[in-house]
């Protein structure tokens, strides 16, 4: 996959950077526009996780990009940015509404200069409306979109999803919108303004559940459930159960098949009950049948009977998972004296997953190359660096294609 597309990424935190990483993986030339000291994600890392001084948070969403560190508030940066915009196909940004307008790079200003631009904005809560200026961050949108309320048992209470799923899904939607707008540009020459929000990404992530909920036509509080049932809207046994030595999940399953697999008279007696209306009763019986048994025995019986189940794996187990290894889900990339383990691009194109070609390990490591390509004379670049308008540390050596792909392959 090789997209010939030039992208300027005015992005920070996760949704915007992850969106432009999808595009960069597909071959787009993505230039990450950062403040002189580097974007937020270089200075913070969830779980306090750093690889040789580099933020794992930054590593998770910025591969295959180049970095330009430039002070957009300094008027001397303007002529340089204009040259970059003149050569750009796409702008992606995820500042709050109005921030880039104030810097002179809002949609109207850029379109006036470059009418064919695809200009994509990701905001927290939408480009306008009563709460457009509230902060949008993954946890907050999990809470606001109903995802927290829909997760966890009645005993546990509203439960946060243990990863930034709204950000990551919002990134995929944003990249999708950019690509579709670009198909139109190739066919008609017209640019498009694409607008995504983290809030609606949180909603979209639950589209199936919400459609059911609003259509349900039943009274009471269907959200409330016991420990085992996995969601408010599935029939039991759908959920998570304990075995003697680990936890498993059961998906949608034929109750007769499940009863045979476990050779359980208690479950045979419940084959014909309404497993939605009486889901707690059925789930309790399944839980009781499973608790004394061990993983090896249960897995063998379930495989024999075609029961849909999986073991609950931790991230450490996932890293050793044979199918994940087969697919090359993780890739190692050199950072300083050590290596970082990255999550690969999730898709294959013509049977191949895009490689981790490079990582902008320091802010501005590509400033010089990017500006030279845009036609800025060397003495002007030097003057901008001397004045502190642009930062340009020496770039780290790029690894060969092979070294970034060798693991898991």
């Amino acid at each position: 996959m090789k997209l010939s597309m030039r992208v300027l990424s005015f992005c920070h935190y996760l949704q915007g950077p992850a969106a432009t990483q999808y595009l960069a993986d597909m071959g787009a030339d993505v230039v990450k526009i950062e403040p002189i000291r580097g974007a937020f994600e270089r200075h913070w890392s969830g779980g306090d996780s750093w690889v040789d001084g580099v933020s794992a948070f930054m590593l998770s969403a910025n591969r295959n990009k180049r970095s330009l560190a430039i002070d957009l508030k300094d008027p001397r940066s303007r002529p340089v940015m204009d040259r970059l915009i003149d050569g750009a196909d796409v702008i992606v940004e995820n500042f709050r509404p109005g921030v880039l307008d104030r810097l002179g790079y809002g949609w109207e200003a850029v379109r006036a200069r470059r009418p064919s631009i695809v200009y994509a904005s990701a905001t927290g809560l939408g480009p306008d409306g009563p709460d457009a200026n509230r902060p949008g961050q993954d946890l907050l949108m999990q809470a606001r979109s109903g995802l927290v309320a829909a997760t966890g048992s009645a005993d546990a209470g509203p439960t946060i999803v243990g990863a930034a799923v709204v950000d990551q899904h919002g990134a995929a939607l944003l990249a999708m919108g950019v690509l579709a707008a670009f198909v139109r540009r190739l066919q008609t020459g017209e640019g498009t303004r694409v607008e995504a929000s983290l809030f609606q990404a949180g909603i979209d992530l639950q589209a199936e559940a919400l459609t059911k909920y609003f259509a349900r036509g039943v009274d009471g509080d269907p959200m409330t459930r016991g420990e085992n049932v996995g969601s408010w809207y599935h029939h039991a046994p759908y959920g998570r159960y304990r075995l003697r030595d680990c936890a498993i999940v059961l998906s949608m399953n034929d109750p007769a098949r499940l009863a045979e697999a476990l050779d359980s008279d208690a479950l045979r007696a419940l084959v014909d009950i309404d497993r939605y209306a009486e889901r707690e009763r059925y789930a309790a019986a399944v839980a009781q049948a499973l608790l004394p048994r061990a993983w090896r025995e249960v897995a063998a019986a379930f495989d024999r009977h075609g029961v849909w189940y999986e073991r609950v794996q931790s991230y450490d187990e996932l890293a050793e998972d044979p199918q994940a290894r087969h697919l090359g889900v993780f890739v190692d990339y050199p950072v300083g004296e050590t290596r970082a383990r990255l999550v690969s691009h999730p898709l294959r194109y013509d049977g191949e997953a895009p490689a981790a070609r490079r990582m902008p390990l320091s802010p501005g490591c590509d400033s010089r190359a990017v500006l030279e390509e845009a036609g800025v004379p060397r003495d002007e670049i030097d003057a901008l660096i001397d004045a502190g308008v642009v930062a340009a540390p020496a770039p780290p050596p790029a690894p060969s294609h092979d070294s970034s792909q060798e693991l898991e392959r």
């Binding site: 509203p158 439960t159 990551q168 809030f199 979209d204 919400l210 996995g230 809207y233 199918q323």
Partner: protein, 401 residues
């Protein structure tokens, strides 16, 4: 939204991830023809919570928008020939069967791609097209378990917890639509189509890319889930959902001292930012204890005054009345194909300031069989004959929104 106007998609999809991906592309203007069995695709005949609206499955309602439907017995020789005709006039073929199923229907992807180098063939599988698990059943909950999402959700003193909606399917759908748009872009530039493969397993990992990257790169770990009231294993102090005197409030990243100032917790005075992670249980316990004494509104106002990011935990009932979502038009209410009103979750992205419209409500099975067969050159008597012999199924007329 007309970005994909003129793009023809043959959708051999069932369950959720494939149909949802096709719906995203249909929203953007593509002509998606859903090719379904004579008795309808799985998602028409099955509904979680056992719920149908005026006879229509809520699963179909959540992924059927802006598509046309043709009911076809693809296992019959005539059905196979019609399916091949539909494929040969399409820009994109989509499917989410287990690996090998399409070849058994006479639609081997390698052959199709060899016959038409401009074709884009997109498959969503559970675990990838090959490898040791490629023939295992792939369903959202199973992938939540395998990918670590269940193990890393919930509290350390509680069990692994599945997420309360099918987030893997929905993310795989967005990735699939993204990849197809990328492949269309390449085709417009180079004339070359190709194959796109999405798996639920990799969508599940991708959905956790930040958290997994942190975990696999030496983050200090006490276990897969957060200790005490800490939201997740990777959260700093204070970050989480906390009970208030009358509800629940989410508190995002903030320096401990700022949280102390906002909420009136003297013990947090002078706690340096750098201790936010190391002392997270202590910080979180203090924040949780204080919030239990404050009503939600008052707590939110105090946090707002110090610019601490926060949000009220909303249920789905509160969501539909949320003023920001009303403003964004997130939940269009339309008359469904049978006339009963249905509430949909709208397309989440705006193009040139507008969300894509609902051109077609989720259609009845076979509503466009006649139209589509006429488009590939069949005459009315031929279509009647096929219908009489059960090779195709026809409903009466399209339902407009």
């Amino acid at each position: 939204m007309d970005a994909l106007q003129g793009i023809r998609i043959a959708s051999f999809n069932h369950f959720l991830a494939g149909p949802a991906a096709a719906q995203l592309l249909a929203d953007m203007g593509a002509d998606v023809v859903a090719i379904e069995p004579i008795d309808g695709a799985f998602q028409r005949n099955w509904a979680v919570a056992g719920h149908f609206v005026d006879g229509q499955s809520v699963n179909h309602l959540s992924t059927g928008r802006n598509k046309r439907s043709i009911a076809l017995d693809v296992k019959s020789p005539e059905g196979k020939a019609i399916a091949r005709s539909l494929v040969s006039r399409s820009d994109v073929v989509m499917e989410n069967f287990r690996p090998g199923a399409m070849a058994r229907l006479g639609l081997d992807p390698e052959r199709l791609l060899a016959d038409d180098p401009r074709l884009i063939y997109a498959a969503v599988t559970g675990f990838g097209v090959d490898g040791p698990f490629s023939q295992r059943p792939g369903q959202d909950l199973l992938l939540q378990a395998m990918s670590g999402l269940a193990a890393h959700t919930g509290r350390a003193d509680g069990p692994p917890t599945p997420v309360g909606s099918v987030v893997i399917d929905q993310h795989a759908a967005a990735l699939c639509a993204m990849a197809i748009a990328g492949a269309l872009f390449r085709r417009e530039r180079t004339g070359r189509g190709g194959r796109v493969d999405v798996s639920l397993l990799q969508a599940a990992v991708d959905l956790q890319a930040e958290s997994i990257t942190a975990w696999l790169n030496g983050a200090p770990q006490s276990g897969p889930r957060g200790p005490g009231a800490v939201a997740t294993w990777f959260s700093p102090g204070g970050y989480g959902v906390h009970a208030t005197a009358d509800g629940f409030l989410a508190v995002s990243m903030a320096p401990p001292a700022t949280l102390g100032r906002a909420l009136g917790i003297p013990a947090l005075d002078g706690v340096p930012d750098s201790d936010s992670f190391a002392r997270r249980e202590e910080v979180t316990a203090l924040v949780a204890e204080r919030l239990r004494t404050l009503p939600t509104d008052a707590a939110a106002a105090r946090l707002d005054a110090e610019s601490v990011w926060n949000a009220v935990v909303e249920t789905y009932d509160e969501l539909i009345d949320n003023p920001q979502l009303r403003h964004l038009g997130s939940f269009p209410v339309i008359d469904g194909a049978t006339g009963a009103p249905v509430t949909l979750v709208g397309h989440p992205v705006r193009y040139d300031g507008a969300a894509p419209t609902v051109r077609l409500v989720p259609q009845l099975l076979g509503a466009q069989t006649r139209d589509v067969l006429a488009e590939i050159g069949l005459s009315d008597p031929q279509i009647e004959d096929l219908a009489a012999r059960g090779v195709v199924g026809c409903a009466d007329g399209s339902a407009a929104p």
